[in-house]
């Protein structure tokens, strides 16, 4: 038995090596760096330096506020939308199901830079199709990039566009695992389709919904691409700066790795905390 384990570990060794060097070590290392003053060389141990700054930093609280705002609006909207998409995909009336499934999933595999560029074009003030459409139904143009509220909305729209289909596919898989005869029994019980959705589909899908929500929370906590590329590094004036962007700005623009590490650990801690609350709220009651 011992021998067999040893062989197994020899096979695992290359992976474990890379995993330790590129995963475990940076995690430990950045934790230690977060306790060091890294503004001047040599770095020195100063626990209060970064963590103390974090507590009083308006830029941090701005980024935190933006991230949480996106989180509480975008994640529920996206999950609800994904749910609707999954129901439509699951409908027996739908023709060319495979095509739709692919179309919904496609945004995930489109290159981030390409998709951001397209969004910038679509939402541009004078030439964008979105403003043209708004105009054509008699609404005023919106300057998506120069005002904070539209800019935040734009970020949420973009993130939702990119990930809703992905979640829909996961939810669809969950829906398809619910046996058909449960619905048939409900139909015979005179339960309407809408009630079947809320009283059967949603409760039975709860574990999958929680899974999607947790994934989305973690993803949104780390949100970076969209505010970096679409609203140009968190513009206007930091109005869409997220924790991910703050981390990047501190770490790779100001080369202040200690502070960036402290931000990174805050993000991770928040993601874990929110996830735990979420799991606790939706736990299976005995």
């Amino acid at each position: 038995m011992r021998n067999r384990n040893a062989t197994a570990y020899r096979f695992l060794a290359p992976y474990l090596l890379i995993f330790s060097v590129f995963w475990v070590w940076p995690i430990i290392s950045s934790f230690m760096i977060s306790f060091q003053a890294t503004r001047t060389v040599p770095w020195r141990f100063a626990p209060g330096f970064n963590w103390g700054r974090l507590i009083g930093d308006p830029a941090f609280f701005n980024a935190l506020k933006n991230t949480l705002l996106i989180l509480v609006i975008q994640v529920p909207v996206m999950i609800a939308l994904a749910m609707v998409m999954a129901v439509l995909l699951n409908s027996p009336l739908l023709k060319a199901r495979g095509l739709y499934r692919f179309a919904f999933f496609a945004p995930v595999v489109v290159g981030e830079v390409a998709y951001s560029a397209v969004f910038r074009l679509m939402f541009s003030l004078d030439f964008g199709i979105v403003n043209k459409l708004l105009n054509s139904i008699g609404l005023p143009k919106i300057d998506w990039f120069s005002n904070v509220t539209p800019a935040m909305a734009l970020i949420m729209i973009a993130v939702t566009w990119r990930w809703a289909g992905y979640n829909a596919i996961i939810l669809l898989a969950g829906m398809q695992s619910i046996p058909e005869d449960v619905y048939e029994a409900a139909t015979l019980d005179r339960v309407s389709k809408l009630k079947q959705f809320f009283y059967i589909t949603v409760p039975l899908l709860k574990p999958v919904i929680v899974f999607c929500t947790v994934l989305s929370i973690i993803g949104t906590m780390q949100l970076f691409t969209e505010p970096f590329l679409i609203t140009e590094r968190g513009g206007p004036g930091g109005g869409t700066e997220t924790l991910g962007l703050l981390l990047y700005r501190q770490g790779f623009r100001s080369l202040n790795f200690g502070y960036a590490s402290a931000v990174a650990y805050t993000m991770a801690a928040l993601a874990i905390a929110i996830t735990l609350v979420q799991l606790w709220l939706t736990r299976e009651k005995q």
Binding site: P179, A185, L188, D189, R190, Y199, I200
Partner: protein, 359 residues
């Protein structure tokens, strides 16, 4: 309570016809069992009565009213599924009351119906449990309870016992029989198990490949099968089939010679037109219709392969000199010790080469 009438009912999936013009008259309060091999269309027929499948042709009437275009929930039926189809996230009590709660039935009435169903099925102490925490038999009871709560005019069962072990199956079979006596409601029951059909049914509908082969009370099917299929399907162990040839006929019947056994000749009285001398026929003999040598009409020499002792009776698995398998039932006390015996045929059935009964 209501009669159910199927008038020339057909079902097609695309171009594939699964049920070919079925005519069945189910009386008010009757227990009718659809039986047949896998894939013969039993479930499809039942689901058409329930309204879960469209009807491709013909008419279904429940309580005298044609229901072809009536919603499943408005047909006055309740169905018990093979897989139970319980709501996994609800307690037993919620499972039972779900439909009534969702449709705004008064609470007092809902509670009364749930309580009554729980008492009938003796599941009152399980009310707070989830289906996952129930045994197969208990789940089955809950599924039946959910049907009772609807107070339907017709109960539909689709192989409700096939997921249970043998002992439980017998027990639940008795329960369902008792339920039918207690409620007196029309019941339509699908199974591929002929024992279930024989024990439960007032009348059995034997189906094969979407055709009705015969309809009748269990004993009538047993004693008077219309064709080879019904004869072979009803009864356990199966009826033995031995090839034969008509060697003579007169006004009262025919003389049949068994293949390869020139000395074994059976006289078979017939009221209908007898087939030509020389035509091939099949002689059917039930295992219990073999007697000791000389007891019956004709004697048959067989070699015994295996003897199965069931206690009171034994089954001899044997082979004719012509190589045809036969099963012979004997009292345990009369089990032979020789490897070859002579058995008499006390009663037999005659079928023509198309499988139709000659009588």
């Amino acid at each position: 309570m209501a009669p159910v009438t199927l008038n020339n009912v057909a079902k097609r999936f695309g171009a594939f016809e699964v049920v070919h013009g079925a005519n069945i008259d189910i009386k008010d309060g009757e227990f009718v069992v659809f039986v047949g091999p896998s894939g013969c269309g039993k479930s499809t027929l039942l689901r058409m009565i329930a309204g879960l499948e469209d009807i491709s042709g013909g008419e279904i009437a429940i309580g005298g009213k044609v229901v072809n275009d009536v919603e499943p929930a408005d047909r006055g039926i309740a169905m018990v599924f093979q897989s139970y189809a319980l709501y996994p996230h609800m307690s037993v009590e919620q499972n039972l009351s779900f439909g009534l709660r969702m449709t705004g039935n008064p609470k007092a009435d809902t509670d009364r119906r749930v309580k009554r169903a729980a008492e009938i099925l003796r599941i009152s102490e399980l009310m707070d449990r989830r289906p996952k925490k129930l045994s197969g038999g208990q789940r089955q009871r809950v599924a039946i309870g959910r049907a009772i709560v609807r107070e339907p005019q017709v109960f539909l069962f689709d192989e409700p016992l096939s997921n249970l072990d043998a002992e439980l199956r017998v027990q639940m079979r008795v329960e369902i029989s008792r339920l039918h006596k207690e409620l007196g409601t029309t019941m339509v029951y699908v199974t591929h198990d002929q024992t279930e059909a024989m024990t439960l049914a007032d009348r059995i509908v034997v189906l094969r490949a979407g055709h009705i082969e015969q309809i009748g009370p269990p004993l009538e099917l047993y004693e008077n099968p219309d064709n080879l299929f019904v004869a072979g399907f009803v009864g356990s162990p199966k009826m033995n089939f031995i090839k034969g040839r008509i060697v003579g006929r007169d006004a009262r019947g025919v003389l049949v010679e068994l293949a390869g056994q020139e000395k074994t000749r059976i006289t078979q009285p017939l009221t209908g037109t007898a087939p030509e001398v020389g035509s091939k026929v099949i002689v059917g003999v039930r295992p219990e219709h073999f007697g000791d040598a000389g007891e019956g009409d004709a004697d048959l020499v067989v070699g015994i392969d295996v003897i199965e002792h069931l206690g009171g009776t034994s089954f001899l698995y044997a082979r004719t000199v012509h190589g045809e398998d036969v099963v012979i039932q004997r009292d345990a006390a009369k089990v032979p010790e020789t490897p070859e015996i002579t058995a008499s045929i006390r009663k037999s059935y005659l079928f023509d080469d198309k499988g139709l009964r000659l009588r």
